[in-house]
Symmetry: C2
Subunit: 342 residues, 2 copies
Amino acid sequence: MIIDVHGHYTTAPAALGAWRDLQIASLKDPSKAPKPSDLKISDDELRESIETNQLAKMRERGSDLTVFSPRASFMAHHIGDFQTSATWAAICNELCFRVSQLYPRHFIGAAMLPQSPGVDAATCIPELERCVKDYGFVGVNLNPDPSGGHWTSPPLTDRYWYPLYEKMAELEIPAMIHVSTSCNPCFHTTGAHYLNADTTAFMQCLTGDLFKDFPSLKLLIPHGGGAVPYHWGRFRGLAQELNKPLLDEHLLNNIFFDTCVYHQPGIDLLTKVIPVKNVLFASEMIGAVRGVDPQTGHYYDDTRRYIDGTANLTEEERFLVYEGNARRVFPRLDAALKAQGR
Amino acid sequence: MIIDVHGHYTTAPAALGAWRDLQIASLKDPSKAPKPSDLKISDDELRESIETNQLAKMRERGSDLTVFSPRASFMAHHIGDFQTSATWAAICNELCFRVSQLYPRHFIGAAMLPQSPGVDAATCIPELERCVKDYGFVGVNLNPDPSGGHWTSPPLTDRYWYPLYEKMAELEIPAMIHVSTSCNPCFHTTGAHYLNADTTAFMQCLTGDLFKDFPSLKLLIPHGGGAVPYHWGRFRGLAQELNKPLLDEHLLNNIFFDTCVYHQPGIDLLTKVIPVKNVLFASEMIGAVRGVDPQTGHYYDDTRRYIDGTANLTEEERFLVYEGNARRVFPRLDAALKAQGR
C-alpha cells in the first residue's frame, strides 16, 4: 500500500477562491462580507475537481491514499484577524472532509489551523478538535510563520506553541510544519519560503529541548526537510558545538521528513543520510511543480519513481517509506485503515 | 594548486571585538565613541592569530591560498547607521589586507561592504574601490539582507542594487552573497539564516532577468548553494513553470556554488547535479562548524577530503574545482597569481 502523506486541495472549484476574494474585500468594506453558507459547491463539483486531477494521477502513479489538507499557499494566515482565519479554515477543512467522505479509501484529512499573527495559539484548538473528532482528520498543518515571510512569531520551541502541542499529544496527531504564501518580496513562496521554513524549523528544534517536554510529539518537515539532509554534516556538527546529544537521539524520535524532492539524486541523498524510519513517502501532488522533466520524460513530482529507483532501499525499507512509517507517525491513520480492514 | 574561495578572519585578536563593543556602546552614548586609531593590533598579533589557526589548518589540509574576508557574522550591518558600518568595514578590511601583506602567497582579500538597511547601495562603492585598487582585493561579500533576518531590502534583482553591480562589472570582481548574523530569534545564524539566504538569493535570480542586464556579473552562492542542489529538480521545474530558459542558460553563466558542505554525501550530490564549471572549492575554515566528525575522525569542514573522495570528478574536473574555476570567476585573483609567477 502506498500512502502519500502530503497532498493539498489545490484544485478546489473556483467558487472557493471567489468566496475568499469577497472575504478579503470585506476587510475594507464589511458590507461585502460573505457568509459561509453563501459558498455552494456540490458533490459533483468536488468529484469533478478530484477525479480529473489528484485521483487520476494517484491511479496513474499507483498511490493508494493521500493525507489531504487545504491548499497551503491559500491559508494566508497573515490576512485579516483571528475571525478571518477561523471562518476560512472552517470552510477549507470542511471541503477536505467532504472529499474524504466521497473517497474514503483514497483521501483522509489533515487540518488547516485558524492561525493569525500575534494571536494566542490556543485559539486554534477548537478547530483542531472539531477536525479530529467530527471529521476524522489524522494530522494538522502548523504554520511556523503566520505573518507570511516576516517571521514575527516565536520559534517553535517557545511556550507560545505549547497549548497546541499539548492538544496534539492528547489527540495523537502529528503536525506537518508548513508555511503559507509569502508576502515578503524577498521570498518566492514555493522556491524559497517553503524550503527556508523547513530548514528554520529543524534548526529551531535542534537548538531547543522541545522533545524533553513533549516526548511523544511528532513533527513532519516537508519538502524533504528543506536544506537539512544535504547539510546533514553541518547540522551534526552544529549540534556538537551546542553540546546537544547526537541528532538520532536529540531529534529523530520526533522529527520526520517527507520525500517531496523532485529528482533522483535528491532522493538518493535523503535515503542515504536520514534513517529510513524517519522518511515518509509524499509528492505534494498537485502542487508547486506540475511540469514534466525533459530529462526523464516524467512528472517532476512523481516521486514514487525516485523511491522505486534508488539503490539505497531494500524492499522492506521501501515498505516503511510507503506505508509502515506513515502508520506509525499517524496513529489515527493506522486506526482508520484498520477500521477499513486495510 | 588548491584555492579556498571562502575564508573569513574569524580569529582576529580580541582587541577588534573590544573596539566594536565600544562602537556599539557609543550608539547610545556618543562620549564612548572609539576612534579607528584607538585600535592597536601589531603584526605579531596578526601573525599569531593566523599561524596558529587558518594557516596551520591550510598546511595540514594542503590548501595553498584562501580568499580572505572579514568575519561574516560580525559584519552585522543592522547595527547603527551608514557611518557605523563604514568605519567598521574599513577597519575589518584593513586587517584582512594586512594579513594578505604578511602572507601574500596564502591570503588575498575580499571586501566587506559598509551596507546599512535602507541606505542607497551606491554608498558602498568608495570602500569597494579602495579595497580593490589600494588593497588588491579580488572579490566582495554582498549581504542580501542587511537587516539581519528581517529581510527588508529589495530582492537582488531590484535596481536598488544596480550601482554595485555596475561597479563590480567595471572592476571585474565577483560577489559572494553572504548574510551576517541574524537578530531574528526565528533564525539561527549559521544553521538557518545562512542557508536560507543562499536559497533565497538563487530563487530571486531565477525569477528575475538580472543577467540580461549584467551578462558578465558573477555571483557565488556559499554553503554549497543552501538547499538548491538538493532540490535541483524543483528549481528546474519552477523555472519551467515561470517560462524561464533552462537553468544552464538562464543562471549558470553567472551563478556559482562553493563546496562548504560538511559531509561526503552532500558533496557527492553537489558534484553530481551542478556542472563542474560552476563549483568552486571552499571550506569556510575556521567557521561555523569547527569540530571533528565522530563518524570519520576528521574535521567536518575539511572539505578537501570530500572533493578528493567523490567518485563524480575526474582529475581534470578536480583541477577546475580546486583552481581553474576560481581563476576564471575571480579574474583579479588569476592576475595576482600570475604576477607571483603561479
